[in-house]
Amino acid sequence: MRRMAQAKQKYDSIPIPGELSERVMQEVEKANIQRSGKKKRMRRIQRMRRAVVAAASAAAVLFMVGVNTSEVFAREMSDVPVLGAIARIVTFRSYDTETEDMNISVEIPGVEMISEELSGLEDKINEEIHGFCEQYAEGAVERAEEYKKAFLETGGTQEEWAEHHIAIKVWYEVKSYTDRYLSLAVAGSENWSNAYHETKYYNLDLREGKWVTLEDILGEDYARIAGKSILQQTEQREKETGLEFWTDQWDGVDESTKFYINDAGNPVIVFEKYEIAPGAAGEQEFEIVK
C-alpha cells in the first residue's frame, strides 16, 4: 500500500553531487559574459550574485513550505494503493484578505481525477464545492457587516469594534481516502458567532464515479439500521457522560442526513451543535458499523 511513497523516497534519496551547483553556476556566468558587453560585465555579475543570494534564501523558505505540503502529499500517497491514486485533492485556490473590519481566509479544495470516465464528474464536483465555499464566504462577510452596523447603531464605538478581530475561515479536510472512497469535509466558520458554522461533506465512490449515499453503503434498510445504531450509542453516551440527548425530537435518518466515510469504510453520521444535544456538547458523531 505504501509503494508509491516508497518509490518517491527512493527517488528523493538520489544523492546530489557537490559538483552540481558549480556546473550550474558555470553556465550562468558564461551566459552573463556572452549577454553583456565588457563594460557592463562587472555590474551584471554583481547583480546576478545578488539574485542568486536572493534565490538561495527563497529556497530556504520554499523548503519549509515544501515540507508541509509534502507531508500531506505523503500521507495521501502512503494510504493509497496505486490504482486508488486516480483522484487527488489539490488546493484549488486559497486567499487571505485582511480589511479594516475583518480577516478572511479561504482555502478551496479541488478534486483532480485522472480516469477518463470520471472527467464529467470532476467538473461537477468542483463546481459544487467551489459554489459552497464562495457562497459561505460571501454570506459571512455580509453577516459581519450587518453585525458591525448593529454594533455601531446600538452605541458601540469604532475603537470597541476594532477589538472584535472578526475572522472568517473556509477550509477543508480529507476525512478518508481509500481504494474505494474519497471523503472530504469542507467547513466555514466565523469567530464572532457560534451559530454560524457549516460543514459539508462530499463522499465519492471512486469506482462507480458517483456520490455515495447511506443507502449505497448500508443497503435499502439504511434508515432503520443507522437510526437504531444511533439510539443505542446515545443511550450509552448518556450513561457514560450524563449528557442528555434530544432523541425524542429527532426525526431519524433520511437521505439528507450528513455523514462522512472513515478509514474503515464505515459511514459516520454527524450532528451539528444543537441538532441532537445541547450546544455545549458540540458536534456529535456516530460511526455506523456495517
Binding site: 538520489i14 550550474v24 550562468v28 546576478m48 538561495a56
Partner: protein, 164 residues
C-alpha cells in the same frame, strides 16, 4: 522587462537544481550523464530565454528542456533505456515476475517514455496534471488517460490485488 524575466529564470534554475538533477538521474542512471544533462539544459535555457513568454511559463518551459536533454543524451549514447525491448535495464526481465514486486520505483523506470514522464512528474515532482500536459505538449485528457492506464499496468506488475 526581459532583463527581469531573465533574472527570474536564473533564480528558478538555481533554486531547483537538485530537482532537475534527480529527474535527469532517474533516466540516465549515472552521475556524469545527469550532470551533463542539467548543465546542457541550463545552457540551452539561458541561450534561448527569448522564447520564454512570461514568468508563469518558466517551470513548464524548463522541465521541457530538461526532459529533451535527457532523451537527446540517451539517443546519442544509443541506448534508449525505456523502449519496449527493455534492452539495457539493470534488472533482467525474468525478475519482474517475483522479486521486484516490491520495487515500484524500478517498475516505473521500465515503463514506456510517455507514461514514465507522467508518473515521475506527478508523483515525484508533484506537478499538477495541467502543468504536465504543458511540459509534454499533450492534451490534458491524453495525460489523464495515459496515467490511468499506466497505474493499472503498474498495479498488475507489482501484484497489487483489487478489492477493498
Amino acid at each position: 522587462m526581459k532583463e527581469e524575466l531573465y533574472d527570474k529564470l536564473v533564480a528558478y534554475i538555481v533554486e531547483n537544481q537538485n530537482k532537475f538533477y534527480r529527474l535527469a538521474y532517474s533516466y540516465v542512471k549515472n552521475q556524469d550523464d545527469a550532470l551533463d544533462v542539467v548543465q546542457n539544459a541550463v545552457c540551452k535555457a539561458l541561450e534561448h530565454y527569448g522564447d520564454l513568454r512570461n514568468e508563469q511559463a518558466i517551470k513548464t518551459w524548463f522541465y521541457k528542456i530538461v526532459l529533451n536533454e535527457c532523451f537527446a543524451l540517451l539517443r546519442a549514447k544509443n541506448r534508449m533505456v525505456l523502449t519496449d525491448e527493455d534492452s539495457c535495464c539493470e534488472t533482467p526481465y525474468e525478475e519482474t515476475g517475483f522479486q521486484s514486486h516490491d520495487d515500484l520505483y524500478a517498475e516505473i523506470n521500465r515503463m514506456e517514455n510517455d507514461v514514465q514522464n507522467i508518473i515521475k512528474l506527478r508523483f515525484f515532482e508533484e506537478l499538477q496534471l495541467s502543468e504536465i500536459a504543458g511540459i509534454l505538449k499533450m492534451n490534458l485528457n491524453t495525460v489523464k488517460a495515459k496515467l490511468y492506464r499506466g497505474l493499472k499496468t503498474l498495479r498488475v506488475a507489482i501484484g497489487e490485488e483489487g478489492g477493498v
